[in-house]
C-alpha cells in the first residue's frame, strides 16, 4: 500500500519531468542541440504563472500566463541567439544555451528576489481510494498536463506545421528540398518548446517552492528522460518522464531523498551505454 501511494505521488512528478523532457527532445530533434536553458525556461514559467495567479487568482490563467510568457522568451532566445549560431558547432549552441539560462536566472533573481515563493492554493482534503490518498490538486495538475500534452501532440500530428516539424526532425535536408521553410518550423518549435517548459515549471512550482534556481535542478532528470525515451521521440519523452518520476519516488525509501537526482544520472549512463537509442528512438548513428 505504501508503494502504491509512492506510485501515485510519482505520477505528477513524472508528468513534470515528462513535459520538460518533451521540450528538450523537440529541440534536440529539430534544432539538434541539447538545450541547457530548459531548466531556466521552467523557472521562468513558474514565476510567470505565479504572477498571473496572484493577479487573477486562477490556476488556469496562471497556466496560460506560463505558456505565453515562456513561449515568447524561448522564441526571443531563438531569434536573438540560436538562430545566428545555427550553422556553428554544437558546442557553440550548447554554451550559448547555458549563457541564456544564466541570464534568465539572473533576471528572475533580481526581479523576484531570492526568497522562496509559494503558490497560494487552497488546502483541500484528499480523496481516498482503497486507502490510497489522492490530492484534488494533483488531479488538477494531471489534467493540466494532459491538456498541454493533448495540445502539443495534436499540433505535432494533426496540423501541417506539426508535420513539417516532424519532417525536419526526421531529415533536415530532405525536408528542405521538399520545400519546407525552416524559419517557420523553428518559430513553431521554440514557441512550443518554451510553452511546454513553462507548464512544467508551473506544475513544479505548485508542488514545491519557487526559487530562481529550482528549474536548473530539474535539468538532469529531464535530460535523462529525453535520452531514455529516445531523442526526438515526443511520446518516448513523456513515457520516460513518467517512468523516471515513479522510479524516483519508489527509490526514495531505499536511497533517501537527496539521491533521487543521482538515480537519474545512473539511469542516464545505463541507457547511453546499453541502449543509446532509448525506448522509442530511431537508430541515429553513433552517439
Amino acid at each position: 500500500m505504501f508503494y502504491a501511494q509512492l506510485l501515485v505521488n510519482g505520477i505528477v512528478q513524472g508528468l513534470v519531468i515528462g513535459l520538460a523532457a518533451l521540450s528538450i527532445t523537440l529541440v534536440f530533434g529539430i534544432a539538434r542541440f541539447p538545450n541547457a536553458a530548459t531548466g531556466d525556461f521552467m523557472t521562468f514559467g513558474a514565476f510567470s504563472a505565479l504572477t498571473a495567479h496572484q493577479a487573477t487568482g486562477s490556476i488556469l490563467f496562471g497556466g496560460l500566463g506560463a505558456i505565453v510568457a515562456t513561449g515568447l522568451v524561448s522564441l526571443l532566445a531563438y531569434w536573438a541567439v540560436f538562430r545566428r549560431l545555427a550553422d556553428r558547432s554544437v558546442v557553440a549552441l550548447l554554451v550559448a544555451s547555458i549563457g541564456i539560462g544564466f541570464l534568465l536566472r539572473a533576471v528572475l533573481g533580481v526581479v523576484f528576489g531570492h526568497g522562496q515563493q509559494v503558490f497560494q492554493v487552497p488546502l483541500t482534503r484528499p480523496y481516498v481510494f482503497n486507502g490510497i490518498r489522492v490530492m484534488p490538486l494533483d488531479l488538477q495538475l494531471a489534467a493540466v498536463a494532459a491538456l498541454a500534452l493533448a495540445l502539443v501532440f495534436s499540433l505535432l500530428y494533426l496540423t501541417p506545421i506539426g508535420r513539417q516539424m516532424r519532417a525536419v526532425a526526421d531529415n533536415r535536408d530532405l525536408a528542405r528540398v521538399s520545400g519546407i521553410r525552416p524559419g517557420r518550423v523553428m518559430v513553431a518549435l521554440w514557441l512550443v518548446a518554451g510553452g511546454v517548459a513553462g507548464v512544467a515549471g508551473m506544475m513544479l512550482g505548485i508542488k514545491t517552492i519557487v526559487t530562481p534556481e529550482f528549474g536548473w535542478e530539474m535539468l538532469l532528470p529531464a535530460f535523462t528522460a529525453a535520452i531514455l525515451g529516445g531523442i526526438g521521440s515526443p511520446v518516448g519523452a513523456v513515457a520516460a518522464g513518467l517512468i523516471l518520476g515513479v522510479a524516483q519516488e519508489l527509490s526514495t525509501p531505499f536511497v533517501g531523498f537527496t539521491y533521487k537526482i543521482a538515480l537519474a544520472f545512473i539511469i542516464m549512463l545505463a541507457v547511453l551505454l546499453l541502449r543509446p537509442r532509448g525506448l522509442f528512438g530511431q537508430l541515429e548513428g553513433a552517439r
Binding site: 545566428r84 550559448a96 541564456i100 544564466f102 539572473a106 530562481p212 544520472f265
Partner: protein, 294 residues
C-alpha cells in the same frame, strides 16, 4: 593592501590551473567537459580530509591529483561511446552527483556544514610570510603546469589530440584509437582540477558543498573562451580577466548603495551568461585567439 593583492593572486592562479586542465581537454582535444567543478571538489575534499588525518600536506596534494584523475577514468570509459553533446550532459551530471554525494555523506564530509579549519600551507611561517610562500608555491606549480601543457601540445601526442578535435574520423582512419587518447587527456585534465582543488581547500581553509556548484565550471569556461580556446596564453589571460570581473563585482557592491549580496550574485551570474553568449557569437576565438581565422 599587499596581503589583498597576494590573496587575489592566489585565487587567480587557482583559476589558471583549472583553465589549464580545461584547455587540455576542450581547447586541444575538443572534449566538452561541463563537469570540471566535480574534479575540483574531489581534489579539495580529498586533500582536506587526508590533512585532518595528519597526512603530510605534500602527500595530500598528490592524493588530490590522483583521486581526481581516477574519478575521471570511468567518465572517460563512458565517453568512448558518446557524441560530444552527450558527453557534455554526462559530465555536467557527474559534477552534480559529486556535489550530492558530498552533501549526503555526512559521516565523511559533514554535509552542508562543511569542513572548517583545513590546515594551511606553511602554517609555521605565520602571517604574511606564509601567504607569500603559498603564492610562490602555487606560482611554481602553475608554471610547471604551463610547461607541461606546452610540452604536451608540441609533442606527437599533442598533434594527435588536436587531430582528434579537428577530425576524429580521420584519426580513426589512420589507425589510431581516439578513445584511448581522450581518456588520457580527461584524466590529466582532471588531475589539474584536483590540484587546484587542494590549493583552494588549504588556502580558503573552509569548504562546503555550495562552493562547488556548476557555476564554477562555467567561470572556467568563460575564462578560456574569453582568453582564447586552445591557447595556454588564453587560459592565463582569461583567468586574469575572470578574476578582475569577480573582484570588480565585489567592489561594485561596496560602492553601489542598496545592492545586496544576493542581488550581486544574480548580476554576476547574468554577466557570465551574457559574456558567454557574446563571445560565442562574435569572438569565438577569444581575445588571444588567432585573428586571421573567423
Amino acid at each position: 593592501m599587499e596581503a589583498y593583492l597576494v590573496a587575489i593572486g592566489i585565487i587567480a592562479l587557482i583559476y589558471v590551473i583549472l583553465s589549464l586542465g580545461l584547455t587540455l581537454q576542450y581547447g586541444l582535444t575538443g572534449l566538452i567537459n561541463f563537469g570540471h567543478v566535480g574534479f575540483f571538489a574531489i581534489g579539495a575534499y580529498t586533500s582536506a580530509l587526508l590533512a585532518f588525518q595528519g597526512v603530510p600536506l605534500v602527500l595530500c596534494f598528490a592524493a588530490a591529483a590522483v583521486l581526481a584523475g581516477i574519478a575521471a577514468w570511468p567518465i572517460g570509459l563512458v565517453s568512448l561511446r558518446l557524441r560530444d553533446d552527450y558527453f557534455a550532459i554526462v559530465t555536467l551530471g557527474f559534477s552534480e552527483v559529486v556535489r550530492i554525494v558530498i552533501t549526503s555523506e555526512k559521516w565523511l564530509t559533514s554535509g552542508v556544514q562543511g569542513l572548517p579549519g583545513v590546515p594551511r600551507l606553511y602554517e609555521e611561517l605565520g602571517g604574511f610570510t606564509a601567504q607569500l610562500a603559498v603564492f610562490a608555491t602555487i606560482l611554481a606549480v602553475t608554471l610547471l603546469g604551463i610547461w607541461m601543457i606546452r610540452r604536451i601540445a608540441g609533442s606527437p601526442f599533442g598533434r594527435l589530440i588536436e587531430a582528434i578535435r579537428d577530425n576524429e574520423e580521420a584519426v580513426q582512419a589512420l589507425g589510431k584509437d581516439p578513445a584511448r587518447f581522450k581518456i588520457q587527456v580527461l584524466v590529466v585534465g582532471a588531475a589539474f582540477a584536483g590540484i587546484a582543488g587542494a590549493f583552494y581547500a588549504h588556502y580558503i581553509t573552509y569548504i562546503v558543498p555550495d562552493q562547488f556548484i556548476p557555476l564554477v565550471t562555467f567561470y572556467v569556461w568563460m575564462a578560456i573562451i574569453m582568453g582564447g580556446v586552445g591557447r595556454v596564453s588564453g587560459a592565463v589571460v582569461g583567468s586574469a580577466i575572470l578574476m578582475l570581473f569577480l573582484e570588480g563585482s565585489r567592489f561594485l557592491r561596496d560602492v553601489l548603495p542598496g545592492v545586496s549580496e544576493v542581488d550581486m550574485a544574480s548580476v554576476r551570474i547574468g554577466a557570465v551568461g551574457f559574456l558567454l553568449i557574446l563571445f560565442i557569437m562574435y569572438r569565438p576565438q577569444g581575445l588571444m585567439g588567432d585573428y586571421t581565422k573567423r
